[in-house]
């Protein structure tokens, strides 16, 4: 008898048997920073359709979740900002795509709540705006709060910098963003890492996502790590 392993050969193998049409997927990243490149490509190649995708952004035309939009596999997006994607705009205006906007912090907290077993929370964010429409409201000490509910997904796709075979993850710089919460909110969380290492190689005090949240993990390959806005400063002349 062999011990259970979380390590899969590649992105395709890691998604095998857990995908179905119409399912809900969480995908980590902010813009193109910290997105699960290998897993998104494998999700596209799987041909699964009618997806609800929860992700802060929707990628750009040729990269990130833009790949799944182009192949029309997404039926609904739950996001806070989708400004960088022309194909998204086209499908939305044509009525081919549903869209639910959440304030960014509300989206982050809904995912955190979902993963932590919390039904919902009251927040001032969005009170008195379109976001509040149809939601329960409470006034406490003169401030209006609206009820926002927790979010979970059938599958969460996560990108981390380092991970071990137990699924412990460490993120790097601002590539962390939505990944840690989404890792907790997927019924099956699949992580791809730039460096897959053996137990003992990561300092337990430095782990951002404990392995209990990660069911499957792969060593990612061929990272592009595209930059949306390359801004630089001149070296001051000597």
């Amino acid at each position: 008898m062999t011990q259970a392993t979380k390590v899969y050969q590649d992105a395709r193998a890691a998604l095998d048997g857990i995908l179905k049409d119409g399912m809900t997927i969480m995908s980590g990243g902010f813009g193109l920073c910290g997105i699960p490149e290998n897993l998104i490509t494998a999700l596209r190649d799987s041909g699964v359709r009618g997806l609800t995708v929860i992700s802060n952004n929707a990628g750009v035309d040729e990269w990130g979740l833009g790949l799944l939009l182009k192949s029309k596999q997404i039926a609904k997006m739950v996001s806070s900002y989708v400004g960088e994607n022309k194909e998204f705009e086209r499908q939305y205006l044509a009525g081919e795509l549903q869209l639910e906007f959440n304030p960014q912090g509300t989206l982050a907290e809904r995912i955190r709540a979902g993963g932590a077993g919390i039904f919902g929370f009251y927040t001032r964010t969005g009170a008195g705006t379109l976001v509040a429409e149809g939601k329960e409201q409470r006034v406490v000490n003169g401030d209006t709060y609206i009820l926002e509910t927790g979010l979970t997904a059938d599958v969460s796709l996560i990108k981390a910098w380092k991970g071990d075979t137990e699924g412990n993850l460490i993120y790097r710089k601002t590539a962390r963003n939505f990944n840690p919460m989404m890792a907790t909110a997927g019924r099956v969380t699949v992580a791809e890492v730039e460096h897959l290492v053996q137990p003992g190689e990561l300092d337990p005090d430095q782990i951002h996502t404990p392995g209990i949240f990660v069911k499957r993990i792969i060593q990612g390959t061929s990272y592009v790590k595209a930059i949306e806005q390359r801004t630089v400063r001149k070296r001051s002349a000597a």
């Binding site: 962390r176 939505f178 001149k234």
Partner: protein, 212 residues
Amino acid sequence: MAWTRDQLAQRAARELRDGFYVNLGIGIPTLVANYIPSNLKVVLQSENGMLGMGPFPYEGEEDPDLINAGKQTITQLPISSYFSSSDSFGMIRGGHIDLSILGAMEVAENGDLANWMVPGKVVKGMGGAMDLVAGVKKVVVVMEHTSKDGSPKFKPRCELPLTGANVVDMVITDLAVFARPDRKSQFRLIELASGVTADEVRSKTSAAYLAT
């Protein structure tokens, strides 16, 4: 003479205080970072998960894992820290950020703010703006005094969908500065751009406000 974009940013920078944690929006607010007085310690927060935002990197030193909320490549500082989006908005919503400087399409005389959508036009999303105005201690708006067709942007009430209700503490335009001591008070005209008269401001503003 109306203030230029850089002069607007310079004026907004005068709202910075020593020890402040500050979130700057996209556009003119981003320029405020260029005018932080060197005698003040000001820490910039980027809502995608960083405190202690540094300047743009030197060419060739861009790191795709290190961007600001405008998706621009940036650098870290010795004081920097990184955290998740939920921690980031915890500090925003929880009132730990001292000052938010952001742009606007409309501000109402009661402090309502509209800066995220125009009905009938493509909507890109509110991003973190609603969370920022709901949670940050002081909200400063930087905007052109009038829209391109000359109509006032500081008005009796917002016609566009709101980003937040009664959330603005100060309005800095290219013509004037309006401020109020708390969110129960009316705005007062407190400053004019050089060469701009109070009468000119009055004629280009439909919001009610107190005279200087």
